[in-house]
Symmetry: C2
């Protein structure tokens, strides 16, 4: 068979499957965006103000894994946003200090790719990761640390003081704001390029045929109306637009003051069950169907949901390689763990 | 000044400080042993039966960090034996499932260098790490997982099943014993060579003068009667030989059936506060003085304790570089976290 004939057949197949425009073009038109391929392009997105340095990120990593930032000295950021398990804890609702469940029965969102969000927290009350990190550290059902305790713990450890000076200069004030902001800077680097990015960046073969079918359904059904951009989510959207969420009675979360809810990212969604703000749905296909009825006012069949989930596999990204840190030792001045 | 004169003076200084035999010789005579320098010599100690393979150790690492091995899916081996903080949690008594403190008020011992111990647990009831790993996983105040739950969780995750087959062969039975044993195999690799090893291995300058002074005191005071071998500890010894432990009333631990208690390792001891089986003493110099009165029947002065602690700095070891693992995702068959 001539190459030209094969090419022609291939074009026919493409058009049968995906209409006149390619699915790649459709995806881009629908607002789906790739993580760029070059460091400088990535940097424009994750570090627009050019504040990331190696020293800050390395220090932020240590602090992200630092249990002494919690009142008990047992809970770190990584406890609920575990980088080994998709950046989440895999629980329906977060568990924190004294084994306290999140009082609103809220599910821990993934920290991976959170830098691509417009807003942080389910109610979008924070607009960047540096600000976000202040919340859970102080919240009594989470890390339960008063600001002063965090500051005292870190300042009591000479290696940390030295690391802050290296990162910010000799006159740095190692206060709660700087400590939490440094964690946010590390979190900016937690991005996970996937086969879907390769696809959007031009590699037609990065997705399998069935993944492309799933992507087409994902677009055609209207999922992209909320799940778009680089994060495939991360913007504030109305919830229960077309119907009541089946598990609305679990917890008391009602969204922000306008009832808007932050759309979760779909990147690594296959690794971050359970789903929804209250973690009530464990099966991803069920979650897709629930979105059809609550948000789009359509019935998504089992077969369609399965196909869409097949596409989601292509959103599993390559996680940054993290060397588990060695944290500096406490001193006799370090405030003790508070267990009560 | 002639070189020969300098050498002669140096010998005089040595003999003034350390008597006729060198402190290096004294340390060896006292039963202090180095971690060997070659892989084959290390292997003879940590893997005498030649069972370690790269596949088993890598799988064991994943399982060590695997929170789904706990009933709640929130607690891993690394929660209490945190490799970032000297292999311990830094709490007086361990906290486990449902925020339960250890019922005997027992302190989590470090997992680093535990392979060099004769016995595991404070009462020495387990003789190797593979066996030890079975305990905390099942204990209701720790990870609280029934054997069947552990087996069901792991067998529900195809990537784990595949990894076990690669490590042990196609016919492997992925049961509780194999799962916990694999964790023990990983733990065998957690050894931390230090400047003290360099010293015992012949590098006279690996310790500072004041560290050598501390070492000499450590030997002369008799600390080596229990803190010897490679671990500088790890054997079962009588406790409160010479006097009552100041905090004996905290918790109800009385040692094994003969009242013997496992001597903790002194490797990385500067990083593993608080001290003693019940974690009652936070200051290392205080711990040294307490040992003088309870075990040796002598008064160790503040100055002497400080010098001995100075020696302990040389026992801070180089931790193995651990790449934080990416754990395989749960499936719809994976038993859910149990939070109650």
């Amino acid at each position: 068979m001539k190459v030209s004939t094969i090419l022609a057949m291939s074009l026919v197949t493409s058009s049968l499957l995906f209409g006149k425009t390619t699915i790649m073009e459709q995806a881009k038109k629908a607002g789906l965006k790739a993580i760029p391929t070059t460091d400088s392009e990535i940097s424009k997105i994750i570090d627009p103000n050019h504040i990331l340095t190696k020293e800050k990120v390395e220090l932020g990593k240590k602090l992200f894994f630092e249990p002494r930032l919690s009142k008990s000295s047992l809970i770190s950021c990584n406890t609920c946003h575990n980088l080994a398990t998709g950046g989440v804890d895999g629980l329906a609702a977060a568990i924190g200090d004294k084994w306290t469940p999140n009082p609103h029965h809220l599910n821990s969102p993934t920290v991976y790719n959170a830098v691509f969000y417009d807003a942080q927290f389910w109610d979008g009350r924070s607009h960047n990761l540096e600000d976000q990190a202040q919340g859970p550290m102080q919240a009594t059902p989470e890390m339960a640390s008063p600001k002063a305790l965090v500051e005292e713990r870190i300042n009591s450890i000479p290696e940390y003081v030295e690391a802050f000076k290296k990162a910010y200069g000799e006159n740095v004030k190692i206060d709660f704001t700087t400590i939490t902001a440094t964690i946010g800077l590390f979190e900016r680097t937690l991005i996970t390029p996937s086969r879907f990015d390769d696809f959007l960046n031009g590699d037609e073969n990065a997705l399998s045929v069935s993944e492309k079918e799933g992507l087409k359904l994902f677009i055609d059904k209207g999922c992209v109306s909320c799940h778009s951009g680089i994060a495939l989510g991360g913007t504030m959207q109305p919830f229960q637009v077309a119907g009541k969420y089946k598990f609305a009675s679990i917890g008391d979360f009602k969204g922000d003051k306008n009832g808007l809810v932050k759309t979760p990212t779909l990147r690594n969604i296959t690794q971050t069950a359970p789903y929804f703000h209250n973690g009530a749905i464990w099966n991803l296909a069920d979650a897709v169907k629930e979105m059809g009825s609550t948000q789009l006012g359509i019935k998504i069949s089992d077969e369609e949901a399965t196909k869409i989930v097949t596409f989601f596999n292509a959103l599993e990204g390559k996680k940054p390689t993290i060397t588990y840190p060695q944290l500096p030792k406490s001193t006799n001045k370090t405030p003790k763990p508070i267990i009560d």
